[in-house]
Amino acid sequence: MGTGRRKKLHFSKIYSFKCGRAGFKDDHTQIGGPGFSRVVYCNEPGCFEAETRNYAGNYVRSTKYTAASFLPKALFEQFRRVANFYFLVTGVLAFTALAPYSAVSAIIPLIIVIGATMVKESIEDWRRKQQDIEVNNRKVKVHQGDGLFSSTEWKNLRVGDIVKVEKDEFFPADLLLLSSSYDDAVCYVETMNLDGETNLKLKQALEATSSLHEDSDFKGFKALVKCEDPNANLYSFVGTMEFGEQQHPLSPQQLLLRDSKLRNTDYIYGAVIFTGHDTKVIQNSTDPPSKRSKIEKKMDKIIYFLFGVLFLMAFIGSIYFGIVTKEDLDGDSMKRWYLRPDDATIFFDPKRAPVAAIYHFLTAVMLYSYLIPISLYVSIEIVKVLQSSFINHDVHMYYEETDKPAHARTSNLNEELGQIDTILSDKTGTLTCNSMEFIKCSVAGIAYGRGVTEVEKAMAKRKGSPIVVNGKQDLEDSADSDSKSPVKGFNFKDERITHGNWVNEPRSGVIQDFFRLLAVCHTAIPEVDEETGKVSYEAESPDEAAFVIAARELGFEFYKRTQTSVSLNELDPVSRKFIERTYDLLNVIEFNSSRKRMSVIVRNEEGKLLLLSKGADSVMFERLAINGREFEEETREHVNEYADAGLRTLILAYRELNDEEYKAFSEKFAEAKNSVSADRETLIDEVAEKIEKDLILLGATAVEDKLQQGVPECIDKLAQAGIKLWVLTGDKMETAINIGFACSLLRPGMKQITINLETPEIKALEKEGEKNAIAKASKDSVHQQMNEGKALIRASGSEAYALIIDGKSLVYALEDDMKNMFLELAVSCASVICCRSSPKQKALVTRLVKLGTGKTTLAIGDGANDVGMLQEADIGVGISGVEGMQAVMSSDIAIAQFRFLERLLLVHGHWCYRRISSMICYFFYKNVAFGFTAFLYEAYASFSGQPAYNDWFLSLYNVFFTSLPVIAMGVFDQDVSARFCLKFPLLYQEGVQNVLFSWRRIIGWMFNGLCSAVIIFFLCTKALDPQAFNKDGKIAGLEIVGTTMYTCVVWVVNCQMAIAISYFTLIQHIFIWGGIGLWYIFLLAYGAMPPSFSTTAYKLFVESLAATPSFWVVKLFVVISALIPYFSYKAIQMRFFPMYHGMIQWIRHEGQAEDPEYCNVVRQRSIRHTTVGFTARSMARQNRVKDRNQNHR
């Protein structure tokens, strides 16, 4: 193995590691004390001492329940819901003499409902279990003694085992790194699953163990590790290792965490320190906050309201019952003697009428329980699961490139998607691809590159004109603009430069220097694919990679880096052949945010010393030499142009150094670098400052921070739908503003209110370093800036403003006394951009918007830094992109691309909102309608608690005869099709304004239920009693009247549904008519059972109802009459006061959807004035042109 080991350069020499080797610091004295008691016997996990420790195994369980705890735990969860608990109580009471119906009939619906929920719960848990099994049975190589390693399952690992992990494998537990395939025992770790960062982390073992390269080396290996107890801190680890009679301090540098992955390293050996639930990653995993949608919270209120109504009804009934019961016995004379009031049980005892009334109250509460829809919760859960599966299966939200469909991870927030008022979006990876593309450059004052940015595409599409770039009509380019550029990170198109043509350009020398600088001045590491010879790069940042790739594509292929040199394959302008050139790398002066530039000092093959530098225009132009400003003017112009097009620019410049100068610098630089004082950074900066001057300008680069596909269109649609978009990014203000322009969140002519702390006074204070003074001055400054902003907005009426605030100011703006002011200001701006914000601030802003405005917020992000925001928002949407799974894991819904948000919100969100709210309203309707017939009947039965219906009719009402159509509505109903949802984005406002679930509408539906109940009850009783029921002179008794009424209720409730929905597929037909059919089938089947079971329903349908014309005639009349009020209401509303979806239905129905002008009329009216997006942008431009024209006249 030793021979195959790659003798790679020691990266420790290039990077200055922040976390160096641990010395015995204070922490280490605590070892052995409380909190630091762990002792690991490496390589002898089975020894006696280790056994006595009894550390947990490596088996990991993520399931909610175990086989034993499932029943009690799941039941407890269920009965925490008030409604379910109520039904449990009534179910228990049903076993007493209080019950108006039989106990079995009362308990069965509850069992069905609870059972269904528990089945769902258990299926979900079973899935988690499968995942656990997969993870626990992964294989790893473990030392079995005698230097032999063999595979075993993860779950069998014990603390102290020595394991060998190979390239691209996950670490099975928290390991102590002992050695790796590299000589200096380093290894690369990808911690994407932990923190979402994609860059590789370097870990290094102790020198003492670094020589254990072979399996056989572990034959007699023994070490004792004492370390901290399991904890959740990912970035700390304190311990000591006793090895070879010596104590070695351990630091996080030696700890490999479970769920991270070994990269770029062939293998490592490690000792298991923490297993299973002791590992840091599992200690770290907290249960995500459980979110409930606003609609569900409101639904709870409605249920409480209904409980109120129920108790009121029961109360009224009890009082009446008490009075009547008392009157039954007057001394010795009985009034209603047939009830034997003289010999009554307590429930009917006139002598103790108040007690009887109280008992009756309980009976009534049980009897009117049909007001509360027992199956509501379970139906909603079923519906939401199905809705989620529609979201998951939507082909329009499937991203082919990464094979990722949308994934609704939690199903209980679907309807919330239809009510989003504000979207808080991350930038990198969400709006942008996090891939930089070298797209343009300006060399020697000449602009090159004809690539087209996403923004330009969107604008052009909107205008319908071909794109004009560099004075040429780029027809070809716009035609194939959708096809990906062949090389990732490179989208440079200019035949003057590509294919080596640059040698023919007038200033080819400058161009050569320019690209050479790009190829040399960076910190990327090349990786040569041995088979194809292709070079790829590992770079710190994507822009850096883009530069190296650009240089490679244009003939300056960087292929090798050693500790001291950089090697290129260069195109020689004279011979037009590739020649190898090696530059001695002398120094790297790294990039940091205050310097805003990076430089390298190299010696070329001719022996010339060169300082190559690239940096932001703000710092570079001032460092140019007087003779180096030849192209300054043109370059500045180009840089501004690029910035306007949303591109990131860097200025490239160089200078030649002479030996003395370099020598002086080199000494000072080394001194500064080696200094250990706190101001080391400043020292380095100062030294570098002195040499990075008198530069000669070469040109500028423009890199597109590529917007994800379709982002501008999506933002435009969302803006038209009235959704506000805030961008919260960790990026610099300039970048953020660039992207703001790129996404049309900002546009020329929009007034920007910028709040930052870059004022000279504060900078001066910062230098002095007085913290309190800084804080005070900063706070005052932020306060003042916000006040100014507010005054500005107040002064002007309808103009659109943008608020841009940076992280430092945000610290003060989010303080308790200022946050409301900040919110007020932010809400009155059309777009808000917070830059340089930390993850915590992102979460705080989200909370502020959520609580401050009370509106629904959606956060969207892709990285670990967005997790807080995603969890804080009402809905977190994770982008399942490149930046790890952290955001996705903590999101509620994962999508692959930002643009899918449009469909997710405008189509699925709208539908789900509409479905769920209609469904809940309808649920209450059907139960009020049913419950009130029972109540009205009571009024005619002296409130004695006698139900009008047979026990089983009562109990199966909710579960069988009326629930399927509601579920069908909740799953399938559409007011308008997806196409129209997208065409008329304002439709979305129905959800934001919550018009479909307003109290008015809810009460309206309940009132409708009341009307239906009254109509059904009175029409049925008046029509059936007291005369003969059929030709045979038979009379309609309780069972016939009750059953007829019940049949009417079932019909009315199901037909009501048929009127209410506007989308009939075969499924709806089956469920609605099937529900009614089921009732008849049940009536037949139930009636055919022996009379001891079917009691009053025995042969009822066959003998009494079916053959009797008056049953059918009465039913027809009652059903249609009960539907007329709602039908009239809906017809009048649809014709004279249509809601927005109604209008769109008109448009569709009348076939005017294809008439663009007509649609525009409807749409135009819906576009708000101060909004963002390119529609608004082009409208603003038109208005300006119009104004100008008018002024001319």
């Binding site: 429930f347 009917f348 005619y940 399938f972 934001v992 597929t1065 009216r1165």
Partner: protein, 326 residues
């Protein structure tokens, strides 16, 4: 399911009918409702009118003047004869069969205590069935079980009627007045009344202990509890026609106590139609709803023609109103 349908299903684009309540649909529907309801209503009304019904309330008239102020004492006094005769004039030809009903008002046969106080098992199996706890307080008397037990049976209606036209006695058929399923499957053929009305407090009628319950149709009819506090129960049938201006003399025994609770008693003679007894309500309701829906259709049509619809006018949508006002 084939692939296309499955795709349409998952993409929520199944072929669907998307009804829109256009004025045409609305008016058509209302017209149709009218067109359907008016004829049905007229037919129902006709059916109802074809039924001849004689209703005679006799509860107060049958109390001797002496007891008018204290009817309860009268009805409870077993020594007083409760004979009473009523003269009913036939105002229209009545075709046989003529159904005889008694009607009680303000009688809560649907009271929960009352409805529950019976034992279906005992009615079917008699004394073999011991558990009659549901029958309280008429479960047993003098230590012996009662068959049939329970309040309903105990309070059996016991007024009796006999009819004569002139001197000719009208035969009353009291068979087949109960539902067949009750007679055959709910009341035992081998179950005989036992220890019935032997308690200290006598409720309603007595039963012949030699006739099995399945033949005691009075009881069976009575045991099917009524839905509302005003109800009729079938007493029997007169199986010959009654002519106009015939006077039917009813001899009745006014035994049943409705005086304690202020109830009334009526005797009803009625023919029947295909729709049952005489009740104009259904026909009237049908026709009036029918006419009003035609009216609504016209009004709607008129409004529709008068007010052209402002296409795409979103000004009346709630959120726009809000933003204008704020």
């Amino acid at each position: 399911m084939d692939a296309v349908a499955m795709y349409q299903f998952t993409q929520q684009s199944l072929p669907a009918c998307k009804p829109v309540l256009t004025p045409a649909w609305v008016t058509t529907t209302f017209f149709l409702v009218g067109a359907l309801f008016i004829p049905i209503g007229l037919v129902s009304l006709h059916a109802s009118h074809s039924v001849v019904e004689i209703v005679d309330r006799y509860d107060s008239e049958c109390v001797p003047d002496l007891f008018k102020s204290n009817k309860v004492v009268y009805i409870k006094d077993m020594s007083i004869h409760k004979n009473c005769s009523r003269h009913l004039k036939v105002h229209k030809h009545m075709k046989a069969p003529i159904f005889i009903y008694y009607q009680l008002d303000n009688y809560y046969q649907n009271h929960r205590r009352y409805v529950k106080s019976r034992s279906d098992q005992q009615l079917l199996h008699g004394l073999q069935h011991n558990d009659t706890s549901s029958c309280t307080p008429e479960e047993s008397s003098n230590g012996l079980p009662i068959v049939p037990c329970g309040l309903i049976a105990w309070s059996l209606f016991n007024d009796t009627y006999s009819f004569s036209r002139g001197t000719h006695k009208l035969r009353v058929n009291r068979k087949n007045i109960a539902w067949k399923s009750d007679r055959n499957h709910k009341f035992g053929k081998q179950v005989y009344p036992f220890n019935f009305q032997n308690g200290t407090l006598i409720g309603g009628g007595k039963l012949d202990p030699n006739i099995p319950l399945s033949d005691q149709e009075d009881l069976i009819v009575w045991m099917r509890t009524a839905a509302l506090p005003s109800f009729r129960k079938l007493y029997g049938r007169i199986e010959e026609d009654l002519n106009v201006d015939d006077v039917v003399v009813v001899n009745l025994l006014n035994n049943y106590n409705t005086y304690s609770f202020g109830g009334t008693k009526k005797l009803v003679l009625s023919t029947s139609s295909w729709l049952g007894g005489r009740n104009n309500f259904l026909g009237m309701a049908y026709t009036s709803v029918g006419f009003s829906s035609i009216l609504v259709a016209f009004v709607f049509l008129l409004l529709h023609v008068r007010n052209p619809r402002p296409y795409g006018d979103t000004s009346c949508i709630s959120w726009n109103r809000k933003s204008i006002s704020s």
